[in-house]
């Protein structure tokens, strides 16, 4: 389904006239997808905001039980991975294959580190008895444990959804790693890395919101 283009090495998909048109379309598609992702998270944040307003004291007491420092370190790790992917985009733009590989690997490593630390955090919360479902004993010591459960429900639902997006993002980056390793057409790789980087940046930004609204708001 492909036909040769006058730029000898580059192949344009059959429905497009030029490579530029194809890349523009791909980029716009990713931006639109990110809009839908933002709205997906917005529903959860809206519900959280409503209940924060309703049970402010309980929710801030519950938020103080979370490991804000650990999550803060995690934020630094994730934002650094955002820098790494931006540098990978830059390197791909300059057709530097090895450098692109390096920065992509760094991004993936930092992303994995984030998930490991996050799992450890979940484990600590499990040990502290802060899991309000799956028939776990709920050992929240503050006032109004009933509504505190609601806070932890949101905490696990939102961070879980974010972690799911991290895993998808890591898989996308792994594909980018393979594509960069093969290095078929440098212009195409540069655009693909850029579009993947856009998704990763979105996951970063969502985390900033998650961190502020779940960890810091009640302090």
């Amino acid at each position: 389904m492909t036909r040769p283009n006058n730029q000898t090495t580059v192949i344009v998909a059959h429905q497009f006239e030029t490579l530029e048109q194809q890349f523009d379309a791909d980029l716009l598609g990713m931006w639109l997808f990110l809009v839908t992702e933002a709205l997906l998270f917005s529903g959860a944040f809206l519900a959280l905001a409503v209940y924060y307003h309703q049970y402010y004291d309980t929710f801030s007491a519950a938020a103080r039980e979370l490991h804000w420092l650990l999550a803060g370190i995690n934020s630094v790790i994730l934002l650094t991975s955002g820098l790494a992917v931006a540098l990978a985009e830059q390197a791909a733009e300059e057709h530097r294959r090895r450098l692109t590989l390096c920065w992509l690997s760094a991004t993936i490593a930092l992303g994995v580190a984030f998930l490991c630390l996050k799992s450890y955090e979940y484990y600590m919360e499990y040990r502290a008895g802060l899991i309000p479902f799956l028939d776990q004993p709920f050992a929240f010591s503050g006032p109004d444990p009933h509504n505190a459960m609601l806070f932890y429900n949101f905490y696990f639902a939102i961070t879980g959804l974010h972690a799911l997006h991290m895993i998808i993002g890591l898989m996308v980056l792994l594909v980018m790693l393979v594509l960069t390793y093969r290095w078929r057409e440098s212009a195409r790789v540069a655009r693909q890395v850029r579009i993947a980087g856009l998704y990763w940046a979105f996951v970063d930004i969502v985390w900033v919101l998650v961190y502020c609204s779940l960890y810091l708001l009640g302090r």
Partner: protein, 525 residues
């Protein structure tokens, strides 16, 4: 060599990347869902012939109207025009060879089918009795039905419309032929574009809402359950934030179809083209600001109720502009009453009644009386069935020669259009009176004084069934025995009529150049 005889194997259809074949995949699947939802409606109407709840148990009745609502809304009305005619026509109208993302297009159909399978599983595994709205806490705490499977099905099918929406928006932005500026686009494209915006902006909110509902139901995580500190009204807000704009996902494409058909069969340029385009966008925008009018009796703040009531009135302004412009297009036109035109004219009449009664129920004080009565049922069926399905039939007949290369039997199609119009009014007009007299929705038994009008309504449903089964028969018949259609059998304007019927696989041998506005009926094509 056209797109239909380019390959014959099953694989050439199931793995196709051709937007025209994807449209067929959708067309066949949603026709199946339409008749499934119709079968459920038939049982509901049969039950309601007598005041006593004798044909179905109350549980079975609840399952039937829930099945009818869920299947019709999510598996027929929402995909209907965009996924079939939109998929088929958008690239043709834009002068493009395909959608921007053909693989994504095919994937959206598989996602749709997967969602459909989940929902059918729910039906088989015990049914669902929550209605199509899944209101909490009933859906999460009390319902014995297969809520989780059905909600998962609806969640999955949401991604199918998100993917379709992204594809349509990118295609409209990036794939227009040279010279095809925004204000030269057919109104059908504007309608698809506005619909896609709503799909992209509203559907994710439904997705997250269903996720929260699902975890509450599956793990007992309290989000909306008052016993766990949650608020069921929040569910209603989030649900209607999607589901009211979803009404315009269903309606806007219908307006696009009707604009094409009216212009063609009045053989005139559409009146007030820019007003038509902007009113489509205005309806899409206002659609996001009125969800609270579904919740006037939910206990939301009275000030919110007043604001939502006033905002809901605003929607009638662009809607009325469209009706006036269609009528002005007819004025001094060379009108021909072919079947697509008959369906389009019934759209205008029925949509007018549906829209005006919409103003009744948008009125805060009046709605307290009308809420949850048959008046509301009649109102939205006038919009959804009278409006949307009529337009679907209009478009189907209008583009059938283009899609299949065959002409349908005109006389039968006109008969069908008239039967549908008469049957529809007989079914739903009595429901306005029933609702006004106070008959509530969702009960399988009712007071005896309501029987006469209910018998009318059920008789009308029978006519409606005939009116919808007829096209199924003669359209299938025409695939083999219909006369061959020329490239432009209606003497219509638009890029899709410049190619052969059925269109070649690649749509256009050379990229067309556009140097005139849409609906140039005053110049020969």
């Amino acid at each position: 060599m056209n797109y239909l005889n380019a390959g014959y194997g099953l694989k050439s259809w199931l793995l196709t990347l051709d937007h025209k074949r994807v449209a067929w995949l959708y067309f066949i699947s949603i026709t199946g869902f339409f008749f499934l939802g119709g079968a459920a409606a038939t049982l509901v109407r049969l039950e309601l012939i007598t005041p006593a709840g004798d044909l179905l148990s109350s549980d079975a009745y609840n399952q039937m109207f829930s099945l009818h609502g869920i299947v019709m809304v999510w598996f027929f009305l929402i995909p209907s025009i965009p996924a079939t005619m939109g998929n088929f026509l958008l690239p043709l109208m834009l002068g493009a060879r395909d959608m921007a993302f053909p693989r994504l297009n095919l994937m959206s159909w598989y996602v749709f089918i997967l969602g459909g399978l989940f929902t059918l599983t729910a039906v088989i595994a015990g049914g669902i009795d929550t209605g199509w709205t899944f209101y909490t806490p009933y859906s999460t705490m009390f319902s014995n039905g297969a809520v989780l499977a059905a909600a998962t099905g609806v969640f999955i099918v949401g991604f199918s419309s998100i993917l379709t929406g992204i594809n349509f928006i990118v295609t409209t932005h990036k794939m227009r032929a040279p010279g095809l500026t925004w204000f030269r686009l057919p109104l059908f494209v504007w309608a698809q574009y506005a619909t896609s915006l709503i799909m992209v902006l509203a559907t994710p909110v439904l997705s997250i809402t269903l996720v929260l509902l699902g975890v509450e139901r599956a793990f007992g995580i309290g989000i909306f359950d008052p016993a766990l500190g949650g608020d069921p009204i929040l569910f209603e807000h989030l649900f209607w934030f999607y589901s009211h704009p979803a009404v315009y996902i269903m309606l806007l494409p219908a307006m696009g179809v009707v604009s094409e058909v009216i212009a063609c069969f009045a053989h005139k340029r559409i009146f007030g083209y820019k007003v038509m385009a902007f009113s489509i966008l205005a309806i899409a925008l206002f659609g996001f600001l009125v969800w609270g009018h579904h919740m006037f009796v939910s206990g939301q703040s009275i000030y919110a109720g007043v604001a939502f009531s006033l905002l809901s009135f605003l929607v009638s302004v662009p809607s009325a502009l469209k009706i006036f412009n269609w009528l002005a297009t007819l004025y001094k036109g060379h009108i021909r009453f072919d079947a697509p035109m008959l369906f389009a004219l019934s759209f205008i009449g029925l949509f007018l009644i549906g829209g005006l009664t919409g103003v009744f129920v948008a009125t805060l004080a009046l709605d307290i009386q009308m809420h949850d009565t048959y008046f509301v049922v009649a109102h939205f069926h006038y919009i959804m069935v009278g409006g949307m399905v009529s337009a679907y039939m209009a478009g189907l007949h209008f583009w059938w020669p283009k899609i299949t290369g065959r002409l349908y039997p005109e006389i039968w199609a006109r008969v069908s259009a008239i039967i549908v119009f008469a049957g529809f009014n007989l079914t739903f007009f009595p429901q306005f009176i029933l609702g006004w007299a106070g008959m509530p929705r969702r009960y399988h038994a009712y007071a005896e004084e309501f029987q006469l009008l209910n018998v009318f309504s059920s008789a009308g449903a029978g006519m409606l069934a005939v009116g919808y089964l007829l096209p199924l028969l003669y359209l299938i018949w025409s695939l083999r025995y219909g006369a061959r259609a020329s490239g432009n059998p209606w003497d219509a304007r638009g890029l899709e009529w410049t190619v052969a019927s059925p269109p070649p696989k690649e749509n256009f041998a050379t990229v067309p150049r556009v140097d005139s506005e849409a609906y140039a009926y005053d110049t020969p094509q």
